[in-house]
Each structure stands twice: as C-alpha cells, then as structure tokens.
C-alpha cells in the first residue's frame, strides 16, 4: 500500500540495466570518457584520434561484456541492497577487465599495456558512472518528480468541469437516472484526477476512465461527438502512467469536435505489437484561427514528459496532421504486474513493492498471455470500486 505521507529521501538504487536509456547512457558516457582521456594524453588531433581508436578496442569489448552481464543480472541486482549491488558490479568490472586483457594478449601479438592500468581505468569509469546515475536519480527524485507530475496532471480544463456540471443539471429534472450515471462518471473521473498518480496502472483502468470521460462529453455534445474504439488486440494488463490517454482525448474533443457544428469522429486504436503497446488517437483536423493550438502543445508536452519520466527512451509520443485528420501516436514498453524485473520507472525509486502475486512460473507468463487478444473491458458495467481503493 502507498504511504500517505512521502518524505523519503532519494532511495539508493541502481538503474534498470534493461532499460534502453540506461544502456545508451553507459555506452555514451564510457566512450566520452575514453575520448576525454585521449585528449588529455596527446596534443595533436591526429594522435588523439589514433589513441582513441587504440583504446576503443578493449573498451568496447569490456563494455559489451559488462552490459550483457548486467542485463542478465539486472533482476537479481534490483533485489540486492545498493552497496551489495555496487560491490558486485565493481567486482565484475575488475573481472571483465582481466578477461578482456587476457583475450587481447592471446589474440594480438604485441603487448596490450599493463593489466593494472586497465583495471584502474575500468574501475574509474565504473565509479564515475555510478556517481552519474546517483545524481540522475536525485534529479528525478520522487520529491521533484511527484511535484511535477501532480502539477502536470491537475490541468483538466475548468471549461470541461463547468460545462459538465451544467450538462448534468440539465438532466436532473427530465432524466434523473441519466443524471445519476453522469454524476458517478464525474466522481470517478475526478477521483482519478485528484489521487496520487505516481504509480503505473493497468491500461484497462485508463480505458475505462476514458469511456467515462467521453460519456460526459457525449452528454454535452450529443450527436456531434462519435467515438470509435478499436481495442481487439489491446493488452488490458499493460501498465501505463495514469491519465496518459485521457488528456489526449480531451484534446481531440476540444480541437476536433467542439469547433464544428457537424458530426466528428474520435478514433481510438490500442494494440500490442513487437512487445510494445501502441495507442493511436485520431480526430478531425480543423484549421481555425483561435488560440487553441498553444494549449494543444502543452497537453502533448505534458504527456510526453510523463512518458519520459516513467520509461525514458523506451516510450515516445508523436503527433501529425494527415490530410483532414490529426493523429497522436503513443508507443510504450509492455510491462505487467507479474513480469519479474526491476522497477518499471527509474524515476520512481526502485524500492517497488514486490508484486502481489509472486507466481513466477515460467519466463514472463504475461507475454504468453498477451499473444491472444485480450477481451476489452465490456460495455459500461456498473463499476465496483476499481481495482485499487
């Protein structure tokens, strides 16, 4: 369960070595260090280049070995205390340095420099990287991230709130039952908007929220708004940042439907492809002079930033105009509750709660399950309190 008050300092945690962003950072940083070293050693540019090339051989070999080992050990490392993990990685660095040194000595006839120097350089790089990831974790520390996420999320348009209340009021006398449902939808929507939204939540919940939101908009806009859902191959159990889709739908309605008197279609297409969850939202593109577009960019930037905080380089958001259609495409990694592995969000402090059901039978049961199309959340069933309280 989530603690109510969070005042924890930045937890000491190793990065997620299976995250593409982490891997890229390690590769870039290590090579940058080598280049810097070459610059320090030689004065002439051609020599610098030669030195770097000479260093690159053993360096890339060791990096490759280290990254492979770290990838394999990542789930285990995530469960260890920070110091243990760091020591293990340091030991691995020394071992791979020796191994690479030996390999090079046997393959290449001339001597590959001193073993001692090789080990020291390796450990130095390790230390700098460890420090870098520590700084990065601090920069993205929950305290800061949390404040930002909350601020980002609190931006539902007041325009929507008041118009919806007005729409519900219009139903109270004539259609009391419908008014009840609308108020329940609003309650659910605002409960999600106001709660602590740092943890990833199942995609099915987000989709349900979107349905409630669109039901409210439909109330106001009646026939002008039509929604098409394509969720046949949606992985309902995928974990996504809460409110990742709703603001985009709000945008679609605000920019695509409201400015016109005629009917418009908002199309939502969510599917699993190549281990990634894709969500595509389309709406009619209306060219109008109003200052609508700045607001649009803000909402897109908001979602993009949250995706980056949660998934780093493994998620993306793209938007484009295709003829008379405006399209937003989100791509994020397929993660589920059951998949073993380090915390999904590097930003979130890796001290994640162990998954509720520790049934780790085979390799990633979730992935196998996802192969068959998951049933979409059915029609608007009366909602029992959604999976979390």
């Amino acid at each position: 369960m989530r603690p109510i008050i969070r005042q924890n300092p930045v937890p000491l945690a190793l990065p997620d070595f299976r995250n593409l962003g982490t891997v890229l950072r390690i590769l870039l940083a290590a090579n940058a260090l080598a280049l810097a070293a070459a610059f320090v050693r030689d004065s002439r540019l051609t020599e610098v280049f030669d030195t770097f090339v000479a260093m690159a051989g053993p360096l890339e070999l060791q990096l490759l070995a280290m990254l492979t080992l770290l990838y394999l050990l990542s789930p285990w490392l995530a469960r260890q205390p920070y110091t243990t993990g760091a020591c293990v990685i340091a030991a691995l660095t020394v071992l791979t340095a020796i191994a690479v040194h030996l390999v090079i000595e046997t393959v290449v006839p001339q001597p590959a420099g001193s073993l001692f120097r090789h080990v020291v350089l390796g450990l130095g790089t390790f230390g700098i990287l460890l420090y870098y990831f520590r700084l990065r974790a601090k920069a993205l520390s929950p305290a800061i991230t949390e404040a930002r996420l909350q601020a980002l999320q609190a931006r539902i348009r007041p325009h929507f709130l008041f118009n919806s209340i007005n729409a519900v009021l219009s139903l109270v006398r004539a259609e009391p039952k419908q008014a009840e449902v609308a108020l329940e939808d609003m309650a659910d929507l605002f409960r999600v908007l106001m709660r602590d939204n740092r943890d990833l939540a199942p995609l099915a919940d987000e989709v349900e929220l979107c349905r409630q939101y669109l039901a409210l908009e439909k109330l106001r806009l009646t026939d002008r708004l039509e929604v098409e859902w394509h969720l046949q191959s949606m992985p309902a159990d995928a974990l996504v940042p809460p409110l990742v889709l709703q603001p985009l739908l709000e945008n679609a309605v605000y920019h695509g439907i409201e400015p016109s008197s005629s009917k418009g279609v908002v199309c939502v297409n969510i599917f699993l492809k190549g281990g990634e969850v894709h969500a595509i939202i389309r709406n009619p593109y209306r060219v109008d002079g109003g200052g609508h577009h700045s607001g649009n960019k803000m909402a897109l930037g908001n979602v993009r930033e949250r995706l980056a905080l949660h998934f780093d380089a493994e998620a993306s958001l793209e938007s484009r105009v295709r003829g008379e259609t405006y399209e937003v495409h989100i791509r994020l990694p397929y993660r589920t509750d059951k998949a073993a592995g380090p915390a999904a969000a590097p930003a979130k402090g890796a001290a994640s709660t162990p998954s509720a059901a520790p049934r780790n039978g085979g390799e990633r049961p979730a992935e196998r399950r996802a192969a068959r199309p998951t049933a979409t959340p059915a029609l608007r069933t009366p909602r029992t309190e959604a999976s979390r309280g």
Binding site: P158, H159, L161, N163, L169, S170, E258, G290
Partner: protein, 256 residues
C-alpha cells in the same frame, strides 16, 4: 410596464445547456411574464431566426462553432430593433475581465435561478451593447459580414468574398454570385482580415484565394499597369503603382 411577455431567444451549441436555460426560464415565469421565442445552436442560426421574428432578449453562449457569441453581438446591431444581449459562459477568465470592464452583462453557467431572474428584471432598462464596447473585447475576426437589405440582415460568409471595394460612402462586397453594399471602413476591414485579404489599390482589398494571376495592361496614353485576374469573376482589378510589389509577392505564393 404595460409590455406583454418578454420574448427570449436562447443560443447555445450544447443542447443540454439550452434545455437547462429553458427550465430555469420556466421557473421565472411566475415572477415575470416571459416566453421563450426560440432556440438556436449558434450565432448563425440565431440570425436566421431573427430575420423572421423579433425578440427582446438574446441569451447567448460565447464559445460556439460557426458563429460565436461575440460575433453574433456585432450582427445584432444591424437589426432594425436590436435586442438586449446577455452572455452565458461556463468559464473564461480573460474574456470575463473584459466584460466587467465594459459593463457587458453575462451569466456564469451553471446559472442560478435568482441570478437569472435578477438579470431578466433589468432587461427593460438595458440598452443594446454598443459597437464601441464590442471593439474593446478580445474577439477573433468575424466569419460573416452583415449587410442590411430591404430592412433584413443578410450574412455574407467572409470566405466567399472575392473582393471588397470602397466606393463613395459604401463598400461593395463581391462574391462569385453577386454584390452587396456594406457600411464600414475599408481600413478597419483590412485590420480585421489582413491575413485573408490583400490591398491591391487604395480602394480595394482582394481575397488571396481568389487571385488567379496578373496581367500587364497598357493604357491609352502608353502607361502600363498590372491588373488582377480573378478566379470566379470575369472582372479584373487594377493594381496601383504603390501596391505593385504584391504582384511579385502573390506570384511567388502561387508558384509555391
């Protein structure tokens, strides 16, 4: 007041909002004789209704497709007996500030019945909003120009206009079909629609979309000048010496 019931027109693009207002107005009938004369989903529909009926009060939303409330306010002024206009709005901080400053009446949605009744009771003493006040509001450019013809107001969609030409005290509006006479200043129109129209002559604005090309003509005295060729209209328009640069500018736009 010996007046019979107050005649009211409701304008809002959201059907539930219109229904809500109607219900609230029903609640007011006990305190004040009134009748809802009609409902419209946007400013344009409202103007159409007002060409066949007259009302004392228009309750209009601000944000609407086709024609918003602020533009409706401008066209209402062209009516023989402009009704009083009270805006209804859900939330729009900036606009509301401008309303306060210019003492323009508005009701915030959801509207309370007491507030509504208070506003209705003031109506006989209220005067239509003046054009000067409307100018103070941060409005986007109009989508229609309104022209009075035989005591009726005709809306001309700005996107259909080929050119605007100042002649004596009127401006001629040319659409592919016909001409209209408008009483406004060409300079003001140029300010409002600068993105859409380009000045080719001291007295003439041409829609950029309507330009087909240019032609060099030599006059009787051997002085040459450019003429604008238009897409849907046979006439051509002279380009003044001072505005000659637009020949190249528009030529480049068309090439692109």
């Amino acid at each position: 007041m010996a007046d019979p019931a107050l005649r009211i027109l409701i304008v809002d693009d959201e059907a539930p909002a219109r229904r809500r207002l109607r219900e609230l107005l029903d609640d007011c009938t006990g305190a004040l004789p009134l009748v809802v004369a009609g409902e419209a989903a946007n400013g344009r529909e409202a103007m159409e209704l007002l060409s066949v009926m007259s009302v004392d009060l228009v309750l209009s939303d601000i944000h609407m497709p086709s024609m918003d409330g602020l533009e409706l306010a401008r066209h209402l002024l062209k009516l023989a007996h402009p009704p009083v206009l009270i805006f209804t709005t859900a939330f729009h901080e900036h606009a509301l500030q401008a309303f306060e400053v210019n003492a323009i009446d508005y009701l915030v949605k959801p509207v309370r019945v007491q507030r509504l009744l208070g506003a209705l009771q003031k109506v006989p003493r209220l005067k239509p909003i003046t054009a000067a006040k409307l100018d103070e509001l941060p409005a986007s450019s109009r989508r229609f120009l309104s022209v009075t013809e035989r005591s009726r107001v005709v809306l001309v969609p700005v996107e259909e206009i080929v050119y605007l030409k100042a002649e004596l005290k009127y401006i001629t509006i040319r659409t592919p079909q016909r001409e209209f006479l408008l009483e406004e200043s060409l300079t003001r129109l140029e300010e409002e629609f600068g993105a859409r129209f380009v000045r080719v002559h001291r007295n003439c604005l041409v829609s950029r979309d309507a330009v087909r090309g240019f032609e060099r003509r030599v006059g009787d005295e051997g002085d040459a000048h450019w003429e604008v060729l238009l897409k849907d209209v046979q006439e051509t328009l002279p380009v003044s010496r001072r505005q000659q640069f637009i020949v190249r500018e528009l030529g480049r736009e068309q090439a692109a």
